[in-house]
Symmetry: C2
Subunit: 469 residues, 2 copies
């Protein structure tokens, strides 16, 4: 007997029930799989169960990586993964394209492949849980953090380096169209990567999913609590979680959506950023040593090499380059209630590695050490406001590290600081609501990765106010 | 006495009343300024009032344009406007980045400046009217077409070429935040431009606006009727009008918005387009003559030069390069009602000049002549379906020309063709509603310029079904 064909039917364009179920998960602080208080010890246990060593090595000891002739670019012999090349950036502010401009050269990570960052979701007892992985990345300060269910470069999951299969990748490549909650290409750091995007995904399942020792189902309420802990939720997980389609409960915003998009369009139009890849050998102002490529004045970051020995990753041991920042970053949103509606002060930031001129960044995003030699007036706007904020003004604070597969101990203090009612948005800045940022995360190249982390932190702070110390 | 400061207040994020007023304007076929039937003769009159001559000239007679040493690029002596350079494109389909690929070189227009395409709107008798300009562009087949109120490159309105001021530019640079209806960066042809975007704007005013002879206020109902005429509404106007935030009256769509965005994300991820600017001299397969740069087999397009003499443009006379297509294009949406809701079949098209891999294109977008030498199986999908469609299946048809400031007599037949109920979307294609496309035009790099024209045509066909011949 032939199966009956279901008639083709239209469906509502909005999936409103996603938001309801997200709200329920955010309000649920007890998960079915593990109590939140036990997650820390589980991560510690995973760290101990798999002995990893990460050791700095001279570039000469890199296996399958080499400095290419002529260009001097640091490349993998397969031509895959990523490469360290040079970038030449000229930025001009409009409106005329010949106003004041800045120009510089720097090393940059070139990684054209689009990877997958996927979190699997499933209802237990009617509440959405999210499958987090305790994953080792060589650059993490504490090696193991909670990562998405799957984080895989294309080279990973197509087995370019001969490793094992990526667990659960079948839920994401391709996803079941009936079960997609989030699926968007989001860019990574524009100051370190050249136009890199990853596919940020949340996909639901009703299957029985095997649970390996490295995996744990958590509610959003549990994740919110963990987001208040230092260096626990990794950058990729923060990025994916920031794209969750939360309800906007606020009655409105200072700017309507049309006004916000118009302001953003103007910011994109008035900046003229010309970024050009150049050979690494042409990056003036940086010097290459046996163990590091670094800025002549010791600022910004270093490129270096590590050897990794582990036991439960896709490969047992490998070597690779990493970037190391020279200081700890400060990444902060000023927050202000306008008519009782919380707003954050976004900055339309131009970075050389952005695909399209500017993205919305936190109010402050910098490494203060890079400004130590400059006069006070050259310091980034609001940096001192943030650093000098009394504790009573801090709505959120935690130390997070950036992606441990590319960055070694690159840490920043992520903050949400309550601003005075008198703080107005200067040119290039705008007060927007978290609901507006959330709506923009449905599309790429609006909300930068640091702002996405802070957005996830703000969702966490809303779901789960920090417990008193 | 000090003025009272209005309290800061939040407003609703949505401007729902814009859509209501757009619907009213679309339903209004009689404007206060000019009857629709008189617009044609007014355009003719404007054409005759200003005697223009456009003449093809050898490259050597270009004034202030020259072929640069070494690169051979065709550039303006000011370094502004645009340049003709070379483009090297390698396209691979995923998922592995080493699947079948195509590779070619071609001349390309490089124009990094963001221009403004702005339409001024104003209520007369409670109905929105839009200020259209009868504007001469040297490449228009009939020289004068209806254009936006303002179309200005940055060089134009900052007077780089010493011309007159651009009329009414003050409404758009900057716009009054309280009166913005549309403000978005939209890309132009990815096959001819390298990553060019213009700022598409519609701004309302309550001012008394002086009316010059070249300007006319029209309702959307009137513009809809004119959109059924050949070569009357220029490309820039079509692009801006496509971004109008019409209500979506449909109960839903075949794909929810999340599903549509996920499908699009997958299309972006699976294509790998590496486009690199190269010197024009390195464009193999093309030959440079005294009067034209053309493909060795006479396909695709030519680069040539013209001298323009006019009387009411920003400059009295000038010379410039233009691109001329070798044939007439076919640009068509297949249209199908699903559950009574009209859908169009979009194609995720990869063009070398796109900033970000793929954009949503019409079902068919090609110049059939370029395929004449190829076997039937190499013809674009659905081309013959469109060309063979009986007249009873044609929902919309008109000839439109592309931007007359860059393209000489580049025409295409724009069509909406009713498809059989059995036509399914093959890989790389999806059935989406006009309402979904409209929502995506709020953001750049989703809907390509040809699909935007067709979207404006479909809005026009909905507002104003074609009169019987």
């Amino acid at each position: 007997m032939l199966p009956l064909l279901a008639p083709v039917t239209v469906r509502p364009r909005d999936d409103r029930d996603h938001a309801d179920r997200i709200a329920l998960s955010a309000a649920t602080t007890g998960g079915v799989h593990m109590a939140t208080k036990d997650v820390r010890s589980w991560i510690d246990e995973r760290r101990e169960a798999n002995v990893f060593h990460v050791e700095r090595i001279p570039f000469a000891e890199l296996d399958q990586w080499r400095f290419e002739d002529v260009t001097g670019n640091l490349v993998h012999s397969s031509g895959r993964f990523f490469a360290i090349e040079g970038l030449h950036v000229v930025e001009a502010d409009g409106p005329h394209g010949d106003g004041p401009y800045r120009e510089w050269r720097q090393p940059v990570i070139k990684q054209p492949e689009v990877g997958i960052l996927g979190i699997l979701a499933k209802e237990f007892g009617g509440v959405l849980h999210f499958l987090m992985q305790a994953k080792m990345e060589p650059g993490n300060p504490n090696l193991v953090q909670l990562s998405p269910t799957v984080q895989a470069t294309r080279s990973n999951y197509t087995k370019a380096h001969g490793g094992t299969n990526v667990k659960l990748i079948e839920y994401f490549a391709p996803p079941d169209p009936e079960r997609i909650i989030v699926d968007v290409l989001q860019a990574e750091q524009g100051s370190w990567f050249f136009r890199k995007s990853n596919r940020n995904m949340i996909v639901e399942t009703v299957d029985d999913v095997p649970i390996w020792d490295d995996f744990c189902w958590l509610t959003l309420g549990q994740i919110a609590e963990l987001m208040h802990e230092d260096e626990t939720i990794n950058m990729n997980a923060r990025s994916v979680l920031s794209c969750l389609p939360y309800h906007d409960e606020a009655p409105g915003a200072l700017l309507s959506d049309v006004q916000l998009l118009s302001w953003f369009t103007n910011e994109r139009s008035r900046h003229d950023v010309r970024a050009r890849r150049i050979p690494l050998t042409d990056v003036h102002g940086w010097k290459q040593g046996v163990e590091a490529i670094e800025h002549e004045d010791g600022r910004y970051f270093k490129v270096l090499a590590v050897a990794v020995k582990g036991s439960n990753r896709e490969k047992i041991s490998w070597t690779q380059p990493l970037l190391e920042s020279v200081g700890t970053g400060v990444v902060a949103f000023l927050v202000r209630e306008i008519d009782g509606v919380p707003h954050v002060l976004v900055h339309a930031r131009a970075d050389g590695g952005f695909l399209d001129t500017v993205e919305l960044a936190p109010t402050v995003q910098c490494t203060p050490q890079n400004y130590a030699h400059l006069p006070a007036e050259s310091r980034p706007p609001f940096l001192d406001y943030v650093l000098d904020a009394p504790r009573s003004r801090i709505r959120y604070e935690a130390m997070h590290s950036e992606e441990g597969g590319r960055f070694l101990n690159v840490r920043a203090r992520y903050l949400a600081i309550e601003a005075d009612d008198t703080v107005e948005a200067p040119p290039g800045y705008a007060w927007v609501t978290p609901g507006q940022l959330t709506a923009l995360t449905r599309h790429g190249h609006y909300v930068n990765v640091e702002a996405r982390t802070l957005l996830a932190c703000i969702h966490a702070a809303t779901a789960q106010p920090q417990r008193e110390a």
